[in-house]
Amino acid sequence: MPYLGSEDAVRELRRALCNPNVQSDQLRYRSTILKVIRAMSQGVDVSGLFSEMVKACATVDIVQKKLVYVFLCSYATLNPELSLLVINTLRKDCQDPNPMVRSLALRNMTNLRLPSLVEYVEQPLTAGLRDRAACVRRVAVLGWAKLHNLQPNSEIDAAVVNELYGLLRDPDPVVMVNCLRALEEILKEEGGVAINKPITHHLLNRLKESDVWGQCEVLKILQRYRPQSENELFDILSLLDASLVSPHPPVMAATLSLFLCLCSGLPAVSLAALERVRGPLLAACGSVSRETRFTALCHIQLLLRSLPGLMGAHYKRFFCGYAEPAYIKQRKMQVLVELVNDDNVAMLLDELKGYCTDVNTDTAQAAISAIGRIGRSYSDRCLEILTGLLGLKQEHITSAVVQTMRDLVWVCPQCSDTVCLALEGCEETLQDSQGRQALLWLLAVYGERVSSAPYTLEVFIDGVRSEASLGVKMELLTTTMRLFLCRPAETQDMLGRLLHYCIEEETDMCVRDQALFYYRLLHCGTEETRKVLQGRRSDPSLGVLIGRPAEPISQWAYSFNTLEPLTQGCVETEPASRGSPEHVTFDPKPNTDLSDTLNCSQIEKVHSGSDSASGFPYSSANVLASSLAAPLSLSLSPALGPEEFERLWMQRQASHADQGAEKLEEEEDYVCMEEQIQCPAIPHCSPQSLQAAMQLVNIQTLAFTPPHTLPWRVYLYTHTQHAHSGEAPRITLIVGELLYTGEASRRVVEIKKGTEDGDVAEEEEEAGLSGRELVSEEEEVKVTVKQQPRDDKALKGFLSILTTVLHTLSPENN
């Protein structure tokens, strides 16, 4: 067929449609109509043929009828008057003995979307609801919804609504589900279809009759139901249990959604449900359809937010397939990072290492940043891989590695030595502004340790004229200033040149202002400058956290099985991946409403293992509220860096080992005490919720093992301030370790106390301890704490606070 412009094509088609010869030959007529539809779906405007097509509607050929209806429904709104002509044919068809013809007519009558035709449609629709054939009833039921939406302001016909409610008992499951859908739409203003107990149980009992789509719809609508008793709730749950492990992902997801909704008050049941869907979700992750895989991965990320250990044993299922598209690989890596633990870290890193050289640069960079995330807990292994990658001297890899190192150093300052060594020579390969900014930031912070730092900067400063990126220029200014502070001799000259250029020649206001500011700052003297510029090198509050907090399920339950998880870039966007980490504002700590120091009661008895976990009624608020005569204050300042902590700890550790396994020991300077706190499931709670809770009472956690690993450890510190009456407040430092040793379920608190006045009765403590040990058969955490200088009362107070926090955190009390 020669190519015709749309007008010619329409003219040609009209001629053919009007040709009586064509009209009399059914096959030719049909093929002409086909051509019209084809033109229509290709986007040609064929609305001019409306009247010809209306004529073609009156035929006995069902195929032709269907084709014409496709056309009419697309263009009816443009030709409301002409559409009236079709109504007669349609109404006649509604009387046809063939149910297929009846349903077809009814469906298209309502699909014309013409408010002017409503009066003609109502009668056939009413008849349709009582039709013998299920296929007609299906159409008629939905027809009422369409009609209602055509005139949204019209009154709702109570008779119709009643009839629709009645049809919920229709033998055909599709009719039943369509009734639900129609009522949802018609009664939208009243909050949708009424879901009461009889309807719920009716729907649940007939759930199995519906197909996948119907089941999903019913399950979704049932989310509105609130069971009246616990028994009823569990009846419903057991009825739905089979759907929870359905091989069809839509049914599984809808059921879980309903589960989470019904069990919002029962976290244990919800968690059990999450465990239950693990199998089907993993199966969906291996589905043939990439899109289903992706959807399943996104939802697994949601689940991991509340149950970080859910997929731990199945980490291999998240290894990237060789030919998978980049977006799936990236999601899989995000999941893999969450699953890392002592046992699989070697395997995981091996796997991730393979992705770093992927042809796809996005995949490669995602892999590198994933390794960086793992580096927060396994820094040595990861740094080895990262430095190895620098040897490749490839632009995108080097850039990603340097950015990752910057983020890593911000969180784990102990990595800085390795990073400083690795930085030499990177600048030759770095091209993009993100990577160069990261390099500059690292040079600024660790400039005194990178021997070639001034030379690197010199290259940057020499090229500043041709520098296009604003970010790089700003970072360069700051870096040069900072380097000047620690290595003035080498940097003075280039700083001068840079400032001169930025002030005299630079056209960008931001850069110029920044340069002027620094210039004036230098006038105030080095000390002032140092005060302004000396930024933090790391964020100790981040600790060596891995994994996110185990959020309550309600945080994400509402978005489960919606499009939201799929549209989010990733669940936790790296805050530090853009710009310098110190410029990023972190979420405010939960203790913002509390003062820096916190008054806590000096609780007389130390709550330890003897207080069984059952119903420990304290929340941290209770502890905070009760302030007593001799108040004990905990405070976080001055902050203790990880290195300092390690030094203190190791020092004590060594002396402790020398002394043997005494539970309480005393040197002239500190006391060591072991304590056992009975608080089940603390090792299963996530590092960050623990950290948040600790911070609430001003205890700083420094390092964690991931949840669910054994042995599970947490390191923490705090300062106590114990106001003795009439004396100056004595300040002591407490450093501590929580240890959970495993199957034997023993948590022990060791407390080593550095003390000055060694007049405390050790026997008391020992007696107390042995008493506690007797009851310590269940899960217990061993804590080792060191105090310096010694203050027993403060220590007791600290312990009681710690115990309370742990009890508050343990899930049984939630």
Partner: protein, 441 residues
Amino acid sequence: MISQVFILSSQGDHLIYKDFRGEAGSDVIGVFYEKVTALTGDQPPVVMTLRDLHFIHVRQGGLYWVATASADSSPFTVIEFLNRFSALVKDYCGSLSEKSVQMNFALIYELLDEVVDYGYIQTTSSDVLKNFIQTEAVSSRPFSLFDLSNVGLFGAETQQSKVAPSSAATRPIQSSREQGGRSEIFVDVIERMSVVIGCNGVLMKADVEGEIKVKCYMPSCSEMRIGLNEEFSIGKSQLRGYGAAVRVDECSFHQAVRLDEFDSNRILRLCPSQGEQTVMQYQLSDHLPSAPPFRLFPTIERDSGGRLLMYLKLRCDLPPKSAAINVCATIPVPKGSVSLSQELSSPDQSSELKLQNRAIDWTIPRFPGGTQLSALFKLEVSGLSPSSMLEVGPVGLVFELPQLTVTGLQIRFLRLSPVQPGPSQRWVRYVTHSDSYVIRL
């Protein structure tokens, strides 16, 4: 709730467009195509949002199958629906391609009309749909020399009908009704392996996902019984029989499958509906009953002239009677690779340096079990450094193992009852694909 459904070719041509609720303008197609082509690498494409319009799409047969839906719709449902819809189109049109969709657009509109009403999915069962669908499929079988090769001297049929031609299952399901077409049923056991072999040759991961698919071209078929291996067992604890057990970890069945004889005799009973359906899905993780099909023994070194020498021995550990076909090994190479010279152990193999993918593709059309092939690649690399070796590997293998299942799952028998009048043919086919077969170097 689905608002619109449309099908686009990969070039963005409108093939099918249906608006169910009349809520959004028809320019959405253009908007979608603009968005999908403007995506950068790290943006997941499956769901795209423009104000309150949400596009969900899948790629099947090189086409975009798109639905627009509200934000609270279930992604599992919409994606599953689009996949199911494309499978229906494939059943009805015979194959999935831009051409077949174009030729059968009337049929597809008719399907869409029956499948979705006012944005609500009504039914996707081919048993129900066959009563409603009136349009006949136009099949677009391309002319192929293979069609001629079956005709021998003087037009005699030479092909022994022991093997079904590969195109046999790509025809429209409805042709059987009208033209009195062959009444056939295909049962396919398809397995996909994903394997990671460590650099020391240790099997690090081995997962198999399998499914049994039934493709039915019979106008009426009351009941079919599929017998699996008797020693088939599910889960770790339960072992059956004395022979080598065929074990899977998890197994799920189509709703229509009746399992009353499954526990005792491993028989699945079902009434297949026309078209294709997945009767059973199963997974096996971290364990293969036999050795992994391929092993690689690499020797990689740099020679004095700054060239990279790769001597690869690839061994196929399949039973001697089986063979792998269409084997392609992709070996990533360092970035600066310029040219390749090769020595391959047999003439039917070939290899090529793909600079764009930074990899060597080594293709082996047929690889019999128990044999070993070798290849020597000499690679000219500019700026070769010791760390360039990091970029070599891991090797990815793509292959097909016809008439073989790695789990050992077999179909013992296939019975139709009542016995079909007239000639009916039953075919059982096995194939194992590599989903992802990675060997680290």
